[in-house]
């Protein structure tokens, strides 16, 4: 990614002359073109309801921060050029709450009534599955930033739809690999997951991966309390009796916090090693109330697992300064998707030769790309270059009493090709087949 300043002005002759010197200078380094004007981007997430606190609001905060910096050209290199393909991003925030029918209706309204030209959004897998064909029908460039189901690009193929975060398959496989590496002698494991698609899929992937990696450990009957149950007394009693060596959970938000508080009050964490695949979202909220030695996941190398880089330092500091809390994984995933948008339009602007890029040109720009984001390297490797794979990391919780902050120890990183299926393979079949072709060195 090189900066591009060359400009084709529609009317501003003086501005054109003013930029001419700089443009010729820049053009010798990086031939390219940028369009002028603005790009209306729909930013969709749960801004109300139970998923707003842990996911929607952190994502929205990141979007505000990154879009503002991007428009001003203040994101560190290599993203220092202003806007996306020279276009100023005009964000339209759209709430994802209210069910699939509403989500689809709002998407159509945004495109056809409000003139939204591209989207970055969607937290629920149900929303993503419903939106993808609509985006295709309306030929609108759409980046899914957080939802987990691998079905989107495994059951269909798209031109305009992208996902810049890895699928939930990575979370289950990574969790199982961490257990296999750190606790290879466990006798049994169990799960407690919410009874809906996310919980069922998370447990299925983890269990299948465990069967492949530790075939001698026994899988106990998994618990599926209902979504937003909030009370886990009966489940904790049952777990205290069974005492599985490892307990897998993909609970999130209020459910996760309730479960952690209720189970640690009954010392369940001393009888079993818990693995919380979305635990990173609540580690700072829980602080000292989160017991030490719990395996925490962040759905990728985000938040505390993000790699050190100039980009990461800038993002963390800017986020902390503005919102008085460190960014968690939904913030990273949103920021990562916005970089994807920028790359797509930067490349598309060159292809469009100064006129406003189309969605098709933007899609060509991002397909198969590999780029540095705030947490890690993103490779658009699956689904015809439209589904990302990234490395992932797991570690153990540790509350630092001296500084009074939640930290992580014993981090293990797994390369992208180690925890994601190869292109063309279906996730479930790949795990069942013993994860053939995984490169873990």
């Amino acid at each position: 990614m090189k900066s591009t300043i060359a400009t084709k002005s529609r009317g501003g002759r003086a501005r054109l002359l003013g930029l001419a010197a700089a443009a010729t200078l820049a053009a010798t380094i990086a031939p390219g073109a940028t369009a002028q004007g603005s790009l209306k981007v729909g930013i969709v997430g749960f801004y109300t309801g139970a998923a707003a606190g842990p996911f929607g609001i952190p994502a929205r905060n990141a979007a505000e921060l990154v879009i503002e910096a991007m428009n001003a050209g203040k994101v560190p290199a290599p993203y220092q050029s202003a806007g996306a393909g020279g276009l100023q991003i005009d964000a339209v925030y759209i709430d994802e709450s209210g069910g699939t029918a509403k989500v689809v209706t709002d998407y159509r309204n945004a495109v056809q009534r409000q003139g939204v030209e591209a989207f970055v959004g969607y937290i629920s897998s149900g929303s993503c599955l419903a939106i993808a064909p609509v985006a295709e029908e309306l030929a609108t460039f759409t980046i899914l930033f957080d939802c987990g189901t691998p079905r989107i690009f495994e059951d269909a193929s798209y031109t305009y739809v992208f996902r810049t975060a890895a699928t939930a398959t990575m979370d289950g496989v990574g969790a199982a690999r961490y257990v296999a590496a750190k606790f290879p002698d466990i006798k049994n494991y169990q799960g407690i997951n919410q009874n809906y698609a996310w919980g069922q899929d998370s447990w299925r992937d983890f269990e299948l991966a465990m069967k492949a990696l530790l075939p001698n450990a026994k899988s106990e009957d998994s618990l599926f309390p209902k979504l937003f149950a909030g009370q886990y007394g009966a489940e904790i009693s049952s777990l205290s009796v069974k005492r599985p060596n490892v307990l897998h959970s993909s609970l999130w938000g209020g459910d996760l916090e309730s479960f952690v508080l209720q189970s640690s009050a009954r010392a369940l964490n001393r009888q079993t090693t818990m693995i919380l695949t979305t635990g990173e979202t609540t580690m700072f909220r829980l602080g000292s109330k989160l017991p030490d030695g719990i395996i925490l996941g962040a759905r990728g190398p985000y938040g505390v697992y993000a790699r050190d880089s100039e980009l990461n330092t800038w993002f963390r500091n800017a986020y902390q300064d503005r919102f008085a809390t460190p960014p968690t994984y939904p913030s990273y995933q949103m920021a990562q998707a916005l970089l994807g948008l920028k790359i797509a339009y930067d490349k598309a602007a060159t292809a469009a030769g100064g006129s406003k890029p189309t969605s098709a040109q933007a899609a060509d720009g991002l397909a198969g790309a590999e780029y540095e984001a705030f947490g890690t390297t993103v490779k658009m490797a699956l689904g015809n270059g439209r589904q990302a794979i990234t490395e992932t990391a797991y570690g153990l919780s540790k509350f630092d009493k001296e500084t009074g902050t939640a930290t992580i120890t014993d981090i293990i990183r797994f390369p992208a090709e180690c925890v994601n299926p190869p292109d063309g393979a279906k996730s479930v079949e790949w795990i069942q087949g013993g994860m053939q072709g995984a490169k873990c060195d």
Partner: protein, 310 residues
């Protein structure tokens, strides 16, 4: 005679609007009209003094029929799909009606809700149907005609308009018939209706089947339009939304549900656009305002305007 002409005129106006409306409004109109069918069913029940908090059951059955039938049988014809969805929802309502027609008031409402939540629970546990994520609905054809992707919504709109006019016309006819007229009588005094020689249970059962079938038709059309079905269509909040729109509409006419449904969808759509963080308050506040100032629903405005005209 006049009634039939009125229907043809209504169909002509609705279908004609399809050429004038912008694309976003066209889609909103399809969804509003389809959900209006569900509300029409609730209006039929409401006139009898019954409120169902479980119409999501029939709405979801219609929708899942449209989702599953093409996968099982390969049928993609919209007419057949919507007819089957309506029939299945109607049949389930018929079966459950034997039990439900014995109950009134809160017991009726809660039992309806319970049956809907049973289906919800089954769907959530069925991973083969995508659990809460749901699954895609294939593109439909119309009597052998497969519209291009760009004009699919136009064609679906015309189809929806015709279905709505036919079904609303039939319901209008039914409400004018003797058994239909019995609705309000049952609400006022069941005992007297029995003494007049009519079976209240049978009348309630019939209305319940009508409401179920209409909800099935609505769900089938919405599934076609959205292109996706998931268990949220069966959830109690969806059922509650239909009751919400029923109160907003008022029970004065078979046209009222469609006006109420359209107003509701527009309200929600614009509230979301201008207040993404508190659109629910605007929608809820509007309902409170309607209950306080227009106890007869939006239709009372039309009724008032008509009365002043005469």
């Amino acid at each position: 005679m006049g009634y039939g002409l009125g229907l043809v005129a209504a169909a002509a106006v609705l279908v004609g609007a399809g050429w004038v409306l912008p694309e976003w409004a066209l889609f909103l109109a399809i969804v509003s009209l389809a959900k209006g069918l569900v509300v029409l069913g609730l209006v039929v029940l409401w006139r009898t003094g019954l409120v169902s908090f479980g119409q999501g059951l029939y709405y979801g059955l219609g929708a899942y029929t449209v989702g599953l039938l093409p996968q099982i049988t390969g049928i993609t014809d919209a007419v057949l799909l919507v007819a089957t969805g309506t029939a299945i929802a109607g049949l389930v309502a018929f079966a459950l009606g034997f039990l439900l027609s014995r109950y009134r008031e809160i017991f009726f409402a809660m039992l309806c809700l319970a049956f809907a939540m049973i289906l919800y629970g089954i769907l959530v546990k069925t991973e083969a149907l995508g659990s809460t994520d749901g699954f895609h609905v294939v593109a439909v054809t119309y009597l052998g005609y497969a519209p291009a992707i760009e004009s699919a919504n136009q064609v679906l709109y015309v189809f929806t308009a015709i279905v709505v006019v036919v079904l609303a016309g039939l319901v209008g006819r039914y409400l004018q018939s003797v058994t239909g007229q019995m609705t309000t009588a049952i609400r006022d005094n069941e005992l007297r209706v029995e003494y007049l020689g009519f079976s209240v249970r049978r009348a309630v059962h019939t209305k319940f089947v009508i409401a179920g079938a209409l909800a099935g038709a609505g769900g089938a059309i919405v599934a076609t339009a959205i292109g996706h079905v998931d268990p949220e269509m069966v959830w109690w909040i969806t059922s509650g939304e239909f009751v919400f729109v029923t109160i907003l509409s008022g029970s004065g006419s078979v046209i009222a549900p469609f006006i109420g449904s359209t107003v509701f969808e527009l309200l929600r759509s614009f509230a979301l656009e201008y207040a993404p963080n508190f659109w629910q308050i605007i929608v809820g506040g509007s309902l409170l305002a309607v209950i306080m100032f227009l106890p007869g629903g939006l239709w009372s405005l039309v009724a008032k305007w008509r009365a002043s005209g005469r």
